[in-house]
């Protein structure tokens, strides 16, 4: 009993530094933001308590709604695009259905190693009105007014960013899935093949259940990453033209650091946290259900 208590204290003492760091760096700022989100600020001075006014203003602001929708698009591309594509590419390489798998592995992984800012600059250089692609098309079609119009379209301006995100981040998931596929014993595949299982059956009954945990982890990563998207969008378009490619983090940045609306910005951050927690809880629920089904 005494030994148990002593062990317990030792564990607590080991946990303490991490717990303190967690409180100081995560919990305290979130609680501070929550408090600030009910206030109005002007140049470092709190000018009053406004209750839920900030939240109402944010949720009814068309610019925030547009930003949130853009985040949803990023999330959909991440969860329904990057992860399935990552699995497919990993399986393709794992089953060695292409030659020179090492080469493809390296080529597919390359984009994630490049900084988002560099990626954004490269894409801008290619597709801007004075970029290589635009100049080439102008010459070929003899149309000096050609520009990539999709960048100026309110509904589809996000598409180029989504394509870049898909291209850049799929590789990360591919590597994660490939590492996990390599943990499945070869004998399992051999046995399934001997039993006459078709490839689709192998994927559905062996591969996907084995990868379920990883798919869940990747989904959490994809959702949280999507909701905090900032760097690539900022470097590529800064949310423009107008607010067509704005995302919630950019909206938050502008309100907080350009207009010094600290209370308003804090309310945006709380909304992002709530959305993240809500969505991740939903994914956990779906995962638990799926797990029960396979059990």
């Amino acid at each position: 009993m005494v030994q148990d208590k002593s062990k317990h204290r030792a564990y607590l003492s080991l946990l303490l530094p991490a717990f303190l760091v967690y409180v100081l760096i995560i919990l305290y700022p979130i609680l501070m933001s929550l408090g600030l989100s009910f206030t109005k600020w002007r140049h470092f001075k709190m000018v009053g308590f406004v209750g839920l006014e900030n939240y109402v203003a944010i949720l009814t602001d068309p610019s925030f709604q547009k930003s949130m929708w853009n985040n949803v698009q990023i999330m959909l591309v991440s969860v329904l695009g990057q992860i399935p594509l990552g699995i497919m590419l990993a399986y393709l390489i794992f089953r060695q259905w292409v030659k020179h798998t090492k080469f493809f592995e390296m080529m597919i992984f390359l984009p994630i190693t490049i900084s988002s800012v560099v990626v954004a600059l490269l894409w801008n250089r290619v597709f801007s009105p004075v970029g290589i692609y635009t100049s080439l098309i102008r010459t070929i079609t003899d149309n000096p007014d050609y520009v990539v119009k999709i960048f100026e379209n309110r509904t589809f301006a996000m598409v180029p960013i989504l394509v870049v995100l898909l291209w850049q981040h799929t590789s990360l998931y591919m590597v994660i899935f490939l590492a996990n596929l390599q943990r499945i014993p070869e004998s399992v595949f051999e046995a399934a093949t001997l039993d006459g299982a078709k490839e689709f059956t192998i994927i559905r009954s062996i591969v996907l259940p084995q990868l379920a945990n990883v798919i869940f982890t990747c989904s959490v990563l994809a959702i949280s990453g999507s909701l905090k998207s900032f760097d690539l969008v900022f470097a590529m378009t800064s949310g423009g033209p107008v607010d067509y490619t704005s995302v919630m983090a950019l909206y938050l940045y502008k309100q907080t650091f350009t207009f010094n609306n600290y209370g308003y910005g804090s309310a945006v951050s709380i909304i992002i946290v709530l959305l993240s927690v809500g969505l991740i809880t939903f994914v956990r629920y779906v995962y638990a259900k799926a797990q029960r089904k396979y059990e």
């Binding site: 030792a10 303490l16 530094p17 140049h43 801007s128 009105p129 004075v130 423009g240 033209p241 107008v242």
Partner: protein
């Protein structure tokens, strides 16, 4: 066990103290010199600031007992760090400060010294052009001496191209519109302008149009909501002109996707006949362009508009300058900082800056200064044109940002001038500090 936990806690706390107690260097040291910490919104590696670097070297040579330890930053990064400095009360002794609202987070928080009260005398003021002493603080405070005027509207023309096309710089807006078909059929773009960052059209074009059509009196009334508003004709008509220019193909394609630099390149490469840009672009032109191209570039203002109340004007605002921290008021450090500011803006600094292509606010006989090609043209431009206000230097940033996005949407075919004007007026009446 308790001892172990206590020891662990002490070690953790000490580690944190060591990490966070980096502190700052002592400002007055035992060497008997005055050490000043400065934070400047300048890019010393950019050739545009060669004059600044020369002044810093000149000051260090003349005043060896004043050591200035400078940190540089630019753009948004400058403001973010400056806000953090202000919030943590770690203010530098000398810093970049704006006369308008851009650094209101410093000036309205009482962190900048009112040099108008502490140091400026009529004698000093008389050494500068009258435009230097526009309003800065709402209670008549002066935070800095503007080293130069930021001219925010110039229509640059490539005269070689104009001549080739049998055209000359238009006298009226209608004549300018009529040139579009001639220029386009010859395979050129009429006007380059990079509005990817949507403040460009506001600063470089809308300000000019509103000033021409409304004049300064109307504008100040509209800003304050005293008998005029932004739904009045001058403002709506200005927006209509921008819409018309876009629809009639005046701008090169993708004007809202193009950065400033890209628009400049398009003009320099001879793909467009005109460039709408700011006056400070002349420094880069002097450095980057071959002499024959520099010779063929002329500087103009927007052609005459029907119903304009001011004619042949450009727009300008005083540039940002250096302020002094209020926390060192009345100390030897403040006097040393003032010495630096006087050196920078006065006879010595102005002469150096003029040599590097800047037209200073200090009354300097520019005929005595050897100027480069574009700088000579810029000096002559400033003497030929009266300067109106710059819209976004007067109005609050949040409303201007909303307006800029609305203008960009209008240029992309998603907005109506009257509705944009009404939305802006609604926002200003509720939120802009000019009305509150």
């Amino acid at each position: 066990m308790r001892k172990s936990i206590a020891l662990l806690l002490i070690v953790s706390l000490l580690s944190v103290s060591v990490v966070f107690a980096a502190g700052t260097k002592e400002s007055s040291s035992s060497d008997g010199k005055i050490h000043l910490r400065s934070y400047m919104q300048i890019e010393p590696t950019n050739s545009q600031y060669a004059g600044h670097n020369a002044i810093m070297a000149g000051f260090a040579e003349k005043y060896p007992d004043i050591i200035i330890d400078t940190e540089y930053a630019s753009g948004e990064a400058f403001h973010q760090k400056f806000q953090a400095m202000a919030a943590s009360k770690q203010m530098p002794d000398i810093f970049t400060v704006y006369g308008g609202a851009r650094t209101a987070y410093i000036t309205e928080a009482g962190l900048a010294l009112d040099i108008g009260k502490e140091y400026l005398t009529d004698d000093i003021k008389n050494q500068y052009s009258s435009a230097t002493w526009g309003t800065q603080g709402t209670n008549g405070e002066y935070w800095m001496i503007p080293p130069s005027l930021a001219v925010c509207h110039v229509v640059y023309s490539n005269d070689q191209l104009l001549e080739k096309l049998g055209l000359s710089f238009p006298a009226t807006y209608e004549e300018w519109l009529a040139q579009v078909s001639v220029i386009r059929s010859a395979g050129y773009y009429p006007v380059s302008m990079g509005n990817k960052d949507p403040w460009v059209v506001n600063s470089w074009l809308l300000s000019l149009l509103v000033d021409r059509l409304g004049g300064p009196d109307w504008f100040m009334k509209a800003a304050r909501g005293e008998g005029a508003s932004f739904t009045d004709t001058p403002f709506v008509r200005s927006l209509q002109i921008i819409k018309e220019m876009t629809e009639k193909g005046m701008f090169s394609p993708g004007v809202n996707q193009m950065s400033n630099t890209e628009a400049d390149q398009e003009f320099y490469q001879g793909k467009s006949v005109y460039l709408i840009d700011a006056g400070w672009r002349t420094s880069a032109m002097d450095k980057d362009l071959p002499s024959d191209l520099k010779e063929s570039i002329s500087m103009h203002v927007f052609p005459a508009l029907q119903g304009e109340v001011t004619t042949n004007t450009s727009t300008a605002t005083v540039s940002e300058g250096f302020g002094i921290s209020a926390s060192i008021k009345g100390t030897a450090k403040a006097d040393a900082a003032w010495k630096f500011i006087q050196y920078y803006n006065g006879q010595e600094g102005a002469s150096i800056r003029a040599q590097y292509g800047e037209v200073p606010t200090y009354k300097l006989d520019l005929s005595q200064v050897k100027m480069s090609t574009m700088q000579a043209k810029f000096a002559s431009f400033q003497s030929e044109h009266e300067m109106g206000y710059v819209f976004d230097a007067v109005m609050g940033g949040e409303g201007v940002s909303m307006l800029n996005e609305d203008i960009q949407a209008m240029m992309l075919g998603n907005g109506d001038p009257s509705e944009i004007a009404a939305d802006y007026e609604t926002f200003v009446s509720k939120n802009d500090f000019n009305r509150l």
